[in-house]
Each structure stands twice: as C-alpha cells, then as structure tokens.
C-alpha cells in the first residue's frame, strides 16, 4: 500500500520536474539564442549590448512603439494559431502563407468590387477571406485524405501558386495605374484604429480568436477528438472517432484562420496588395506555434515576442547597421534550441535521470514516513496487548 503511494508520488514529482523543464526550455532557448546573436553582432565589430538596447527601445520604448510591435505581431498570431490547430490534429500545415495571401486577395477583391461599405463591408471582406483561406487549405486536405499525399509538400506548392496568383491580381486585374499594386481599400472598410495609435481592432480580434481556439481545443469534445487524433490516430480510430473527417476539418479550420489573418492584415495595416505581402508569415507562424509547444495562449505571447523583434530589428539596423536578418537568425535558433530542449526531455535517458532525481528527493520524507508508520504499528500492537 505505502509502496504504491510512494511510487505514485515519485512519478508525479518526476512529471512535475518535466513540466517545469518544458516551461523553462523556450526561455532558456531564447536566452542562448540571444547570446549567440550577440556573438555574431560582436564579430561584425558592433556592440551587442548597444544593439539589443536599440532593439528593445525601438520596439517597447514608448506606447507608440509597443503599438507597432503588436500590429506586426497580429498576422503571426493568426498564422501561428493556424499552424497549431492543424498540428494538434497531427497534420503539418505549411501552407499558412498561401492561405493568408488568398484570404487577402479575396478580401481586396470584395472590398474593391462589391461596393458594400462600413461594418457590413468589413464583415463581408473578412468572411470572404475566411472562406477562400479554408478552400485553399481544403485542396491540400483533400489530397491528403483521398490520395494520402504529404500535406507539407502540397501546401507549400500552393504557397507559390498563391503568391504568383496575388502577383497576377496586383499587376493585371486590380492594378492601380502604373504601379504594380492594387488600389487602396475604401476608407470605410479600414479597421477601426485607436485614436493616436497605429494599433487596429484586428489585434483585439486576434486575442479573442486565441482564447476561442484555446477553449475549443481544451474544453470541447471536438477539441478533445482533434487532440486525440493528433496523439494517436490508430487509437482514435479504434475508439470510433472519424479520423479522416477530423483531419479534414481541422486542416480547413487552420486555413480559415490563416485566411482571416490575411483579411485583417489587409484591412488593418496594408490596405493594398503589393509585392512581398504576407511573405514569410506562414513559416514564422509555424515557428511561433512550435516554440509555444502548440499552446494557443502560448502562441499569442510568442507571436507578440516575434513582433517585438521584427519592430526592433529596423531600429537596430538604423542604429548600428546590423542587417535585420539577424533577428530571423535569432528566431530560427530559438526554435532549434527549444525543440531540442523538449526532445531532450523526452529521451528515455533523461526521463530516467529525472526519475532518479525525484526518487532521491523522495527518499528522505519517505524514510521518515516509514519510521512513523512503524512507530504507529508498535503503538497499535501495544494497545492491543494492553
């Protein structure tokens, strides 16, 4: 009896260690990545401390700058939620960029041609973005379900097709005179901006969506099934879950989220399509989701952190002439270190080590407890004798 509770306690202690370490892993990863980034900056003959000071003062120095950081985090929140939702169900949606772009293309088309104005127009644009993003993802999802094709490759191919299609739209169909870009969306369709700040209502939408996604994944039976399929498709099928349908639906939801992100980026920040729109948001979204260990709330914070880095990078470039790509290097290092840290925790060797550690910490109280029990035993016997 007492042996079983001991074992249980030890396991839970080991699990607690694991939880603490998996929370620490991304933080340590960020630290190490910044140190390496600093070394690279130092190798260029620049002062890394000054560089990082510029980075953070340029992104968090005053409320205006914080607002810019949040605005540049906004698209990443959407693409990271998209990546996390699909990966929770065990499918890797690398097509976030294509879905994001197609969502924006749909929105700009509706905005410039439908003539609907004001809030209904905004809602219509966003709805168009959601639907087209979902349809774009559905192509990969159908190929996955019907033909068993690797969804990573198909969704990436569709990214290139989407980028070229967008380029076709802004150079031919909806071209704004001589410039290779679309005209700006009408003023009445631009998202509400908080007076005096660059921050737009889309950021609030992103936060609400994050909470919604977290609720759906963690608290609903649909979310439970999605996660079950992601963890073990075979066991899910044995339990009678419609595995293929769940994969299909979560991939489409993933695309819808990314498409919505494209709409919001268009209506809130860019207002028009031009070369480079949405470029890199898909992969960065995947990166954010991976660092956040697929937690939607975690993704929100990591996305904001990425937004801070993006905004600060230009201040650093202006200040000490270090190319902004240093920030992308730091981001990539963060992913590598955090996923490596997580994988290290899951290694059998590490688990053993943690169990030993837990056992050692347990040993003292357990021995004391054992002594107490034996004392109690003897007193009991004495009582009976008496």
């Amino acid at each position: 009896m007492s042996a079983i509770t001991d074992k249980k306690q030890r396991e839970s202690l080991a699990m607690r260690y694991e939880r603490i370490f998996s929370f620490l892993a991304p933080l340590v990863a960020i630290l190490i990545s910044f140190v390496i980034g600093g070394i690279v900056i130092a190798c260029l003959g620049k002062n890394p401390v000054q560089g990082y000071a510029l980075l953070f003062s340029g992104s968090l120095g005053n409320p205006q700058k914080i607002a810019s950081s949040l605005v540049s985090a906004c698209p990443l929140i959407f693409t990271s939620l998209a990546a996390a939702f699909a990966y929770k169900c065990g499918v890797f949606n690398l097509g976030g960029e294509g879905q994001f772009i197609m969502g924006a293309v749909a929105s700009v088309t509706v905005a410039l041609t439908s003539g609907v104005e004001g809030v209904p127009g905004i809602l219509l644009c966003i709805l168009a973005g959601i639907i087209v993003g979902a349809v774009w993802a559905a192509i990969s999802a159908v190929m996955k379900i019907v033909r068993g094709l690797n969804e990573m490759i198909t969704s990436i191919m569709l990214n290139y097709v989407a980028t070229l299609f967008m380029s076709y739209v802004y150079t031919s169909v909806l071209r704004d005179g001589a410039n290779p870009q679309t005209p700006s969306v009408p003023d009445s369709l631009m998202l509400y901006k908080f007076p005096g700040f660059r921050i737009h209502a889309g950021v609030i939408v992103a936060v609400i969506l994050t909470i919604l996604v977290a609720y759906v994944l963690d608290k609903t039976s649909f979310g439970f099934k999605v996660r079950a399929v992601g963890l073990n498709p075979l066991a899910s099928r044995v339990n009678g879950f419609p595995v293929k349908a769940l994969i299909f639906v979560s991939f489409i939801i993933s695309g819808a989220i990314a498409g919505m992100g494209g709409s919001i980026e268009l209506l809130g920040k860019q207002y028009r399509l031009m070369s480079g729109f949405g470029s890199g948001f898909g992969f960065d979204g995947v990166a954010v989701a991976l660092i956040a260990q697929l937690s939607p709330i975690g993704s929100l914070f990591v996305a904001i952190f990425f937004g801070i880095l993006t905004t600060g990078a230009s201040s650093m470039q202006v200040g000490i002439a270090v190319p902004t790509a240093i920030v992308e290097i730091i981001r990539a290092l963060i992913i590598i270190f955090s996923v490596s840290g997580m994988a290290w925790l899951r290694l059998p060797k590490t688990k053993q080590f943690l169990a030993v550690l837990a056992a050692r910490r347990d040993a003292k109280p357990a021995r004391a407890e054992g002594a107490m029990a034996s004392v109690a035993g003897t007193t009991g016997k004495e009582g009976a004798r008496a």
């Binding site: 260029l44 690398l94 190929m143 033909r147 191919m157 076709y168």
Partner: protein, 309 residues
C-alpha cells in the same frame, strides 16, 4: 506554336540545365531518406550553398572554390540537423522546418554583411561549359546534352552511381537496412548512428552543391529567394520517383522540363500574364503527385527516431 517548335532545342538544353539542381538535391534527399532521415530542410540547405558558393566564387574568382564552399556550407548546416535529430531525437520534420528558416536568414544576413544594402546585384563568377568532343556535334541533341557545365555531368553521373551503390554493394545494402529497420541493422553489427550521420553529410554536401549550381552556373547573382521552392520540388521528386535513382531522374527531368518550358513560354507568348507560366512547375508537381503517387512506399523506418540502447 511555330515559335515553340523552333524553340525546341532551346527547351531541351534548358531542361537539361534546370534538371541539374533538382537532381543534385533529390539525390541528396534519396541518400538521406534511405537511411531513414526525412530532411525537409533542403530549401534551406540550398540557399546556404547558393550563398556560400556565390561568395567564395566572387572573392576567389574561381568557381571551383565556390563549389567546395557550397558543399561545406551545406554539410555544416546539415550537421545541426544531424545532431538534433540523431542524438536528441527531435522530430525530423520540425527540425527541417527550423533549417528552412535558419539557413535563408543566414544567407541573407551574410550577403548584406558582404555587400551592404545596395540594390545593385553583385556579379559573381560563372562556370564555363565543357563540350564533350564528337558527342556535342550531333545535331539538335548534341549541344543540348553534351554542352553543359561540369556540375551537370557530375549530377547525371550520380544517378547510375547511386543506383549501383544501393543495389550492388554490401555497403549500400547495409545503408538501406538502416532506413528499413534500424533495430535489426544494429543487431547485425551495422553502425546505425554512423550511417545516419554519413547520410546527413552526403545530403548536406549534395544540397549545398545544388544550391551552388544556382549561383555559379544558372545565374551569376545571388538574391534572397533564389531557391524558389526547388528543395520542396526535389522532395516531391523523391516521392514521385519512388525512392529509386532512375525514378528520381525521370521525376527531376519532368520538373526541370516544366521550369524550362515556363521560361520559353514567358519569352515567346505575349498577352497571357507571365505569372501563370511561372506557376507551371508547382502545378505540375501537384498534379504529378496526385496522379502517380501510391500511399505506402519508401523506407519503412523513414522519419522515425532511433533510440540507441
């Protein structure tokens, strides 16, 4: 249509040229996956190789130094992948993604460090083509097939060489055993970890070479995004070619042909927006996958971590 027919020798020659980077990288992935290592970081490895090749060629003036630098860069970047996936058992796909973010960022960073933020593209060295005597005199196909850069000949030679290695030699069979069943291979005394590391080194070197081809033989400049998804197309070529060297060659030539075709069409057909021609390689990749891929193929233990006891 006539213009296209008259452009046929050009298309053939361009096909042979455009196939080379795809082929090098697809064979890189073939070596990787045969040892059970799915590497989706090919695009990243290529951009690393492209930049290193470009810089080394630019500063030394010798394209062969560029080739070497491209291969070394590919290997170095892929060793990160090797350490994390083999030693720490990180999910291979996740780490491949990380490489796809890291390597292009490194390339972009070092290009800007070397040349500043100026918009003018630096002109690097170009590798000269080598004509094979007699064979290159055959009309039409002669110049197309036998007037290529040395890297092209190397790429095409790798096809029979790798096919022989995988099927004819004990070493090659042992190598494949690691991808099929690492536990069994281990009990037979095959060095599983060593083979996997070797696979990563070969994959890095060939991917870096494929990237270097782009800046040393295809164009003489480097620009961000120069790889343009070729790594992923090569990845599909391996699946499409059913993990056989010859199949991979056929797949790469199909995709190389699409690449060549879209360039010729862009030049010769006015009126249709050029973006639709540029979509051809990606669309054909998708269609080819849909039509010809069967579900369960490839090495049995592909992509799975190996926990060494």
């Amino acid at each position: 249509m006539d213009t296209i027919l008259s452009a046929l020798p050009d298309i053939l020659s361009a096909t042979m040229r455009m196939t080379v980077p795809l082929l090098l990288v697809a064979i890189a992935e073939l070596f990787s996956e045969r040892a059970g290592m799915v590497n989706i970081g090919l695009d990243g490895l290529m951009s690393g190789g492209a930049l290193a090749g470009f810089l080394a060629g630019y500063f030394s003036g010798n394209p062969w130094v560029g080739v070497l630098a491209g291969m070394v860069a590919g290997v170095l970047i892929n060793l990160i992948y090797a350490y994390c996936t083999i030693k720490l058992c990180v999910d291979q796909v996740v780490l491949g993604m990380a490489i796809n973010i890291l390597a292009p960022a490194l390339a972009s960073f070092f290009y800007k460090v070397a040349f500043g933020d100026s918009s003018a593209l630096a002109q690097g060295v170009q590798m000269a083509t080598v004509s094979i005597p007699l064979l290159s005199d055959i009309p039409v196909i002669g110049p197309a097939l036998f007037q290529q850069t040395p890297l092209a000949y190397i790429a095409y030679l790798l096809v029979p060489l790798s096919a022989m290695f995988f099927t004819q030699y004990r070493a090659g069979l042992n190598y494949c055993a690691v991808g099929e069943n690492p536990q069994a291979a281990d009990t037979l005394g095959i060095n599983v970890i060593g083979t996997k590391v070797l696979a990563c080194v070969i994959c890095g070197a060939l991917s870096g070479l494929g990237g270097a081809f782009l800046t040393l033989c295809y164009t003489s400049t480097y620009a961000d995004g120069i790889v343009a998804g070729r790594g992923f197309i090569a990845l599909s070529a391996v699946i499409f070619g059913r993990w056989q060297s010859l199949g991979v060659l056929v797949a790469c030539m199909l995709f190389g042909f699409c690449d060549a075709l879209q360039i010729v069409l862009q030049v010769n057909i006015q009126g249709t927006p050029y973006q639709f021609f540029q979509m051809i390689p990606y669309m054909v990749t998708l269609i080819a996958l849909v039509l010809f891929v069967s579900k369960h193929m490839g090495p049995a233990a592909n992509g799975q971590p190996y926990y060494h006891e």
